[in-house]
Structures are given as structure tokens and as C-alpha cells.
């Protein structure tokens, strides 16, 4: 039997997070090159739509994002098979998404949000569905599901706008029991407090056992 490696995921340490939203901004920046977003804030012409969200409670703040569930319930309920297992991540094919919200309801982490779709910096209009705006019928903007894709396709390509994403973050490889620094999702690389970690678990290993071992 082929040895499978479980999906990696990014997790935050609430004690470290200061709630600055740099992760949200970075997430948006690297996913919107097609919308003309380059290095400067001034190149942004669409609303900032991140794929992770900094949540706040009275006692702590931390970003919440997709856990890339091995048996992803979002994929199970997607009626158009837009959610796939792809190179160690659960991803949404945004072209295929019909905006039915089933995935958002199925997600136990609240990691999926629905927002308007943009292409080339403009709202992406539907070919058929129309709505009445200011007294006349206009093509309705597509609404799709957004969630963390672990920056797959992005980190490996580097940042085409101007330079590359510096790998400033930490990658925890529990299977090797060491901390290695390598390409990481944008949110991890920009966090000023290093509160975010890309966790790459290995199948069958007891997380708590390993973690206890690492603390020795």
C-alpha cells in the first residue's frame, strides 16, 4: 500500500497572535495577481478577500482557516465536485463553484466564506442570471466559496510581481521531529509574531506522543 501523507494545515497560536491582520492581507495579495495586485497597496482595485480570518474574542485573537480535513465534509456536500483533494491540500475550483453554500454549512471550522468573484480587477458577471439594479436588469455578479488552499501553485512560483515571498515562517514537520524552514504559505511568512505554523503531520504517528517527545 502506498504510504499516504496527511494534508498539511496552518494553525495559529492564540497566545502569540496580536490581531494585526497582516496574514489576511498577505493571503489576499498572493491570490490576486490575476486581479492586477502587485507589491503596492495602490494596485488593489477589488475588496480585500482573504482566505483566512482573524477572529477576536474577549480574551484572545487568532486567525482561523481550513484544516484540510482528510475526509473533507465540504467536498462531500459539494453538488458540482468543485472541491478536490489536490497535492496535499483541499482546494476549491472557483470556476466550477456555483455558490450554493453547502460547503460553508458543512465546514466544522467556519473556514469557508462566500464573496463576489473578480477577474482582471472587475466583478465577474454571470452569463445568464440577471438582477434588477436601479430600475434595469443587469447581469448578476458571480458569488463563490473562498478558503485556504495552502498557497499551492503560489509559493512554488514565487511572487511574480516583484521578487519572491521570503520564507520567514516556520514549518513544523512532526514526522521528522524537527523544525525546518522552507517555502510556507504567505500568511505564515508574514506573521510578525510567528504565531502561524504550517503543520505537516505524518500518517499514524501520534501527535501528542511526538509533541511530548519534542518537549523533552
Amino acid at each position: 500500500m502506498k504510504k499516504e501523507r496527511p494534508n498539511s494545515f496552518v494553525i495559529a497560536e492564540a497566545g502569540k497572535c496580536i490581531g494585526c491582520k497582516a496574514c489576511e492581507l498577505a493571503c489576499f495579495a498572493v491570490h490576486n495577481r490575476d486581479n492586477g495586485v502587485a507589491a503596492a497597496v495602490g494596485t488593489v482595485t477589488t475588496p480585500v478577500i482573504p482566505r483566512l480570518y482573524v477572529i477576536r474574542t474577549d480574551s484572545f485573537t487568532m486567525p482561523v482557516q481550513c484544516r484540510h480535513c482528510e475526509n473533507a465534509p465540504c467536498a462531500g456536500v459539494c453538488p458540482v465536485q468543485a472541491i478536490q483533494q489536490e497535492e496535499g491540500a483541499i482546494t476549491i475550483d472557483e470556476d466550477r463553484c456555483i455558490g450554493c453554500k453547502a460547503c460553508a454549512m458543512a465546514c466544522p471550522f467556519g473556514a469557508i466564506s462566500l464573496y463576489k468573484a473578480y477577474s482582471s480587477g472587475q466583478e465577474h458577471k454571470q452569463p445568464h442570471l440577471r438582477e434588477r439594479l436601479d430600475g434595469h436588469l443587469e447581469r448578476k455578479t458571480r458569488v463563490i466559496a473562498y478558503k485556504c488552499d495552502l498557497c499551492h501553485d503560489i509559493v512554488s512560483d514565487g511572487n511574480t510581481a516583484s521578487g519572491e515571498i521570503a520564507a520567514a515562517g516556520r514549518v513544523t514537520d512532526i514526522s521528522k521531529g524537527d523544525m525546518t524552514v522552507g517555502p510556507v504559505p504567505a500568511c505564515v511568512s508574514v506573521c510578525p509574531e510567528q504565531a502561524l505554523t504550517l503543520v505537516s503531520p505524518s500518517l499514524g504517528a501520534s501527535r501528542s506522543r511526538k509533541a511530548a517527545g519534542l518537549r523533552l
Binding site: I18, L25, I49, T61, S113, S162, I165
Partner: protein, 466 residues
């Protein structure tokens, strides 16, 4: 036009998450508040450098219905309604709306000057790679925005070198009021006035290049163009939020007229260009206007830390020794954040210089001056981490991880621009030679004193924090 009394740097309480990253970059501890709650700015301490504006990542999310509308926020911030970029908690007061109205006024003679580093960063706002050099497109865009004259702060930098260099030589020869500090960074000047009034005598009496150009626009160039100074609207495009404060200083006037009527930042210029629908990337290059648009390589490098020093030494060396400087590229002066020191042999004189980049590094030098132990003759202080390339009004980066490479790219672009200039020393700039021959007479002369020099005042208050 009235002097600007607005505090200029603000934190939007509705958006601030209390992460205090702004407090971490503030060089003067002017940001006050508990973690997790909205911060506020102590306007007295604040040096208006805008580093907090550059760092802040707390943006107004579209999905938050509890926020004041975007249109209203833009209006409060003095930003054009066409601005599409996200709005952050920390921001600087905009003047693009006022400027847009003024540019449409046919009765005014509209003159603009641009700081050395606008040309190496403006293009980033249009998606071109970090540090892309676009002086020609910038001049063309400013003409399309309806400016009658497109001048250059680089010219003022060359004038500054003539005046400040002569002042330094005078002070070194007489041994008076040494060390001499540069006075072109308004955030440094405000800090000295607020936190270290004991060094004010040590500041060069020179106005900044921006104010010098402003003064010359309403005198020398007004005379050449036959325009009444009162009809002139003098505008500056700056990488710096504190330049808005500087232009509003009461003493910055020439015969009762403001030297610089309005200051906009690099980001605001980009917003005006977009507002007018100008295709910046495809604009054909155009030259600056004469005579206040002709500059040397020395004027250009003012935008990077150590630039004023390097430019001053290129000219000072030749004024003192009457010999040509053997090497124009003074690599030992170039660098980044912190304090760098060097000794330069100029004839018989061993000139000891220091470059401070990042205002937080200046305190040790201020203590040395107070204690009479400061070993330097000349000290350049720039409030921002790498000089004006990293100014608070420069394009803001989406990714913190690109900050270093952005500053590096802008700096190399500036140095490349310098090395490609035919004239690389301020005193060899033909327009400068003509200015002194026809109008100013000599550096530190009567007209220079009237137009180009100023005084500084203590802003110290008892009890410090208000």
C-alpha cells in the same frame, strides 16, 4: 492658503485592532494605548514620519457592516472618491481633493516640484516592479494633470548643497557650533525641537530642498516667467508625510506668501493620475521644465540615507581643495538603518562624519552633543529607516516580507540615476551656476539668507506627555 494645523497622522479607532505594530515602529514613542484596544497618537511627540501608516495592516473589511461607509471614510481622510485601495487604521490626511479643485482653476499658475525618490517609487503604484525609474513618465503625467510648470526638488537639493556645504566649511574653519546637523528631514527637525532643543544651534540653518524650491518658485522663477507670485500655486510631491507639516510651518513664507501651498505624497499623486484616467505605464517620457528642473546626480541621491552627506562631500571637497574629487562614488557612506561613521580626508582636514538613518538611533548622538564629546563635524539625520526611499508617503507594501527588497530596489535605482547623469556635482549644475550668477549672488549671501535659511524653535513643554 492657510498653514496646515491638522495633526496629519491619524489612527482610525473603528479599524484599529490594537496590535501595536505601529508603536513598535514609532521612533519617538508617540503611540499610546493598551494592546487589543484602539491606539491614539500623542501629537506633540509625533514627528509625522508616517512609519505607522506604512506598517498598519488593519484594514476595513467589506464584510463588516458596522463600519462607517467607505465614501464617508474617504471624505474624512481627504482622499479622492475614486480611490479603490483598502483603507487602513493608520493613515495620513490627504490633500488630493483640494489639489484636484485647485488644478481646475484657470486663474492660478500651477507649479509642481517632485522629490528625488518619487521617480523611483511612483511606478509601483501602477504595478511595475519595485524601484522602477520613471522621471519622464512622471513629468508627462504632471503636465496632463494641468500643471503649468513641472520642476524638481532635486534642483533644490543642489541649492541646499551650495548653501549647506558653504555653511559647513565656514563652521569647520571657525570651529563654531560643531557638529553641524542636516536640516532637510522635517521629522528630524521636529524631533530636535521637541526632544532636544539644546542641539538646535547645531542644525544647519538651511531650509529643506522642498522649501528652497518653493521660495525660488515664488521669486526667481516667477520673475523669469513674468507671473505675479500671489497667482502661483506651489505644489510639492513628497515621499514624506511630515513635509505636509513642514510646508505649514508659519516661518516658511516668502514675503508673506507660503513657499509651498500644498504637499501631496507619492501615493496621492498616483491616486490623482488614476482619477484622471491617465495611462501612466504607456506615457511617453517628457523632460522637466527649466530652470528649476535641471539637476545633478548629487541632487538625486538625497533620497537615500547618506545621500546628503555624499552630495555635500562631492562639492565640499572641491570648494576646499580646488581640486577635482578623485572618486565620485563614496561607497563607504552608503548603507541602511542605524548609525554609520566615516572620516574623509579633504586637503589637510580630516572631516569626521556620521549618518543616522532611523530616528531611534539619534539619541546617543544627542547625548554626546549635550556632553560635549561628539567627535563628528557633520551629521546627517534621516528619520525614516533608509532615508526618503522608505518615507511614510511612499507606496505601501502589501507584504511585510517585501520591505527590504523594496527599499533596496528604490535605492539602487536612485544610485543608478545618479551614475547616469552627465553632471554629478551640485556646483557644476549649469542651472545652479546661473541661479547664483543672476539671482542669489553667492552662497550664504543676503538673498540666500532671506529666502533659503530659517530658524528653529524649541517645542519642549513641561511634563512631556500631554
Amino acid at each position: 492658503m492657510t498653514p496646515n494645523i491638522d495633526p496629519i497622522i491619524h489612527i482610525d479607532e473603528e479599524l484599529c485592532t490594537g496590535c501595536r505594530r505601529c508603536a513598535a515602529v514609532c521612533p519617538v514613542d508617540a503611540i499610546i494605548g493598551e494592546a487589543g484596544t484602539p491606539q491614539r497618537i500623542d501629537a506633540h511627540r509625533c514627528v509625522v514620519c508616517g512609519q505607522c501608516v506604512q506598517t498598519c495592516a488593519a484594514y476595513a473589511a467589506e464584510s463588516d457592516p458596522s463600519l462607517t461607509s467607505r465614501a464617508e471614510k474617504l471624505r474624512q481622510r481627504g482622499q479622492l472618491s475614486s480611490v479603490r485601495e483598502p483603507l487602513f487604521a493608520a493613515y495620513s490626511t490627504g490633500h488630493a481633493i483640494e489639489l484636484k479643485e485647485a488644478l481646475a482653476d484657470p486663474k492660478r499658475y500651477k507649479v509642481v516640484q517632485c522629490a528625488p525618490v518619487i521617480r523611483v517609487s511612483l511606478a509601483e503604484e501602477f504595478g511595475l516592479p519595485l524601484g522602477t525609474l520613471t522621471p519622464g513618465k512622471m513629468a508627462a503625467a504632471l503636465r496632463l494633470l494641468n500643471f503649468d510648470r513641472v520642476y524638481d526638488t532635486n534642483f533644490g537639493a543642489d541649492v541646499t548643497i551650495m548653501e549647506e556645504g558653504s555653511e559647513l566649511i565656514g563652521r569647520v574653519m571657525s570651529g563654531e557650533r560643531l557638529p553641524m546637523f542636516t536640516s532637510c528631514c522635517p521629522a528630524w527637525v521636529k524631533h530636535a525641537e521637541t526632544a532636544a532643543p539644546h542641539v538646535l544651534d547645531h542644525l544647519s540653518s538651511c531650509k529643506s530642498p522642498m522649501q528652497m524650491v518653493g521660495a525660488l518658485v515664488k521669486t526667481y522663477s516667477a520673475e523669469l516667467d513674468g507671473i505675479a507670485p500671489a497667482d502661483i500655486l506651489s505644489v510639492a510631491v513628497m515621499p514624506c508625510t511630515c513635509k505636509k507639516f513642514e510646508a505649514g510651518r508659519e516661518e516658511m513664507n516668502v514675503d508673506g506668501l507660503r513657499e509651498v501651498d500644498m504637499v501631496i505624497t507619492t501615493r496621492e499623486l498616483a491616486q490623482l493620475i488614476k482619477d484622471k484616467g491617465i495611462d501612466f505605464i504607456n506615457l511617453p517620457d517628457e523632460p522637466f521644465d527649466s530652470p528649476l528642473g535641471k539637476y545633478s546626480g548629487a541632487g538625486t541621491i538625497f533620497g537615500a540615507t547618506g545621500g546628503v552627506m555624499e552630495a555635500a562631500i562631492r562639492t565640499g571637497y572641491e570648494l576646499v581643495t580646488h581640486e577635482s574629487i578623485p572618486n565620485l562614488q563614496l561607497d563607504f557612506i552608503r548603507g541602511d538603518e542605524g548609525i554609520r561613521t566615516a572620516t574623509v580626508q579633504i586637503g589637510d582636514l580630516e572631516l569626521k562624519v556620521a549618518m543616522v538613518a532611523g530616528l531611534k538611533y539619534v539619541s546617543s548622538i544627542l547625548e554626546q552633543v549635550a556632553g560635549g564629546t561628539c567627535p563628528y563635524h557633520f551629521i546627517e539625520v534621516m528619520a525614516c529607516p533608509e532615508g526618503c526611499v522608505s518615507g511614510g508617503g511612499q507606496p505601501k507594501l502589501l507584504l511585510e516580507t517585501q520591505r527590504k527588497s523594496a527599499y533596496q530596489a528604490r535605492k539602487s535605482s536612485i544610485y543608478r540615476h545618479d551614475s547616469n547623469q552627465k553632471v554629478r556635482k551640485s556646483h557644476e549644475n549649469p542651472a545652479i551656476i546661473k541661479l547664483y550668477k543672476d539671482f542669489l549672488g553667492e552662497p550664504l549671501g543676503h538673498t540666500s539668507h532671506h529666502l533659503l535659511h530659517t530658524k528653529f524653535f524649541s517645542r519642549k513643554v513641561k511634563g512631556e506627555l500631554k
